[in-house]
Symmetry: C2
Subunit: 307 residues, 2 copies
């Protein structure tokens, strides 16, 4: 076991990320005590049963009191309300962080409630699955994944270093950038792809001449990956789009412009343009495999497991 990095960690909101953090911290002995809070009694009971918290609290303030690290794991739209509730009980010297997928909006709603003497280090672990809830977490979720921290200028460097150490101990690679850049990068690598996947699945579901059972049977031809992305938590994603509106709309604008160019090439029969475009995108894929963020094994590895 490691020396614990924090004495008392409070997890506020007990879904996929919080439960994975709980499992990872327990597995590596990174916190002496993990306090939990979730809005509903059912979630609190499930989390207790799964066993990644040492104490469970009916209020966010109850969990956050005396914690030296408070992790806000609620949907982005609920962060401000939680911050207002825990602000008064935060201990001097404590650190508040979050795991929200957008950073500017979270900083805008949370920072005003963080008292002087408490460090606020916004964070975003780039890890997840399409599952949600307190039973969906596992200790290795963050392994070899990136965690981006976006501490505003002037943030206490010791507090940042301690939080970096926690994420590194849970297996993450840690990077710092400013919140605005984070929101743009994520609009490209995550938010817009999710919106597109949701849209494509919606189109398929709506098309009367193709039945849902045909869509399901023949999904292996490319559509399947879209449905996995489009099965993610609706509340989380609603909040992401509403709170990272500007960057998402900018990337969507670029996307439709580019899509129209390819659509025109199809209509006009411009084979060379299509071939050149499809060749260029292969290079990005090679880079991802070389960076260890995916394997080059054919996609069918996934399916064999289920058959």
């Amino acid at each position: 076991m490691n020396t614990p990095i924090y004495d008392r960690v409070a997890l506020i909101g007990l879904g996929l990320i919080a439960s994975s953090m709980g499992h990872a911290m327990k597995a590596a002995g990174l916190a002496r005590h993990i306090a939990g809070h979730a809005k509903t009694e059912a979630t609190r009971a499930a989390a207790l049963e799964v066993g990644f918290c040492d104490s469970m609290h009916a209020t966010a303030a109850g969990a956050a009191a005396e914690a030296d690290l408070v992790v806000l794991c609620v949907p982005v739209g609920a962060m401000g309300e939680i911050a207002a509730a825990i602000g008064p009980v935060l201990a001097a010297g404590a650190t508040v962080t979050d795991v929200g997928s957008v950073k500017r909006a979270v900083i805008a709603t949370v920072a005003p409630h963080v008292p002087t003497g408490v460090h606020f280090v916004p964070g975003h672990p780039l890890a997840g699955t399409e599952h949600s809830g307190p039973r969906s977490g596992f200790a290795t979720l963050f392994r070899n994944r990136w965690c981006i921290l976006t501490p505003p200028a002037g943030t206490d460097r010791t507090a940042v270093a301690r939080l970096r150490a926690l994420w590194a101990a849970m297996g993450s690679n840690v990077e710092e950038m400013d919140a605005e850049h984070h929101d743009l990068v994520l609009a490209v690598t995550s938010h817009t792809p999710h919106l597109i996947a949701y849209t494509m699945v919606g189109v398929a579901d709506d098309l009367e001449r193709v039945t849902d059972s045909e869509v399901i049977k023949f999904s292996a031809a490319g559509f399947r990956d879209f449905t996995r992305i489009a099965a993610s938590d609706p509340t989380m994603w609603r909040d992401v789009f509403l709170s990272n509106r500007d960057a998402t709309l900018e990337i969507l604008g670029r996307f439709t412009e580019e899509l129209f160019a390819l659509q025109r090439a199809i209509r006009m029969g411009d084979g060379p343009l299509l071939h050149a475009y499809f060749t260029r995108t292969r290079a990005i894929r090679r880079g991802i495999i070389e960076a260890g963020q995916d394997t080059s094994a054919p996609d069918f590895g996934r399916v064999k497991a289920g058959t």
Copy 2:
């Protein structure tokens, strides 16, 4: 070993699908002899080395002569030329099939070259990976995947049944439908998703304020699946879009209409619309898992293998 279903099978074009068929037929003893042809000497040499053909031929006609099954495995845009080359040598009673991703265009270019007394049974195995070439095939590629046959009205039922038996013996589920419906279904489940994935990867590659290395590092957040789809063979996909133009453009039209509605909801801050949309798309995902076309295991199963 099974009793062979065909005496001599000719594979014309020796990429992922042909090499997988070769391996699958050899593994189960489904053909007494497998003859191969590819356009380039390098591909023919690689295929011989891998060993899924019994004889290799410098011309398509050489491979097709005396075959009782000829399988056209070339890109859709090359099918007509190949059909013209082999038409004169096809034996009476033989069957010609293909594995193209579009069916109306293939029928239009191939059928005129198929002589009377030869059966033409167009086909499309819905199986693949993002890899291509004679070294990319494996015997289990078709297992639990669908193969769609689109025999025109009046096609000899015995010839259809024999080809169905071959696909079933290679592990496929076989379904018949008319070519026009096939092309619409595939435009939804495959062609449009591929175009969208190519576009999104292209947008990311173009965005100057986000570096390629950032896109690569942070791809796990949703973008990674798009890059796998967008790494598929450029020639094959160029031909797919050019030859299934009408259905692809129709689905693209629906897609952009729907995307604009969601984009407007983001701009207007319409949370309930977004939440309802994102909830509805989950049902399709459940159907796909229940149908055995994917597993419910979290996506990270794939990544662990490479780390």
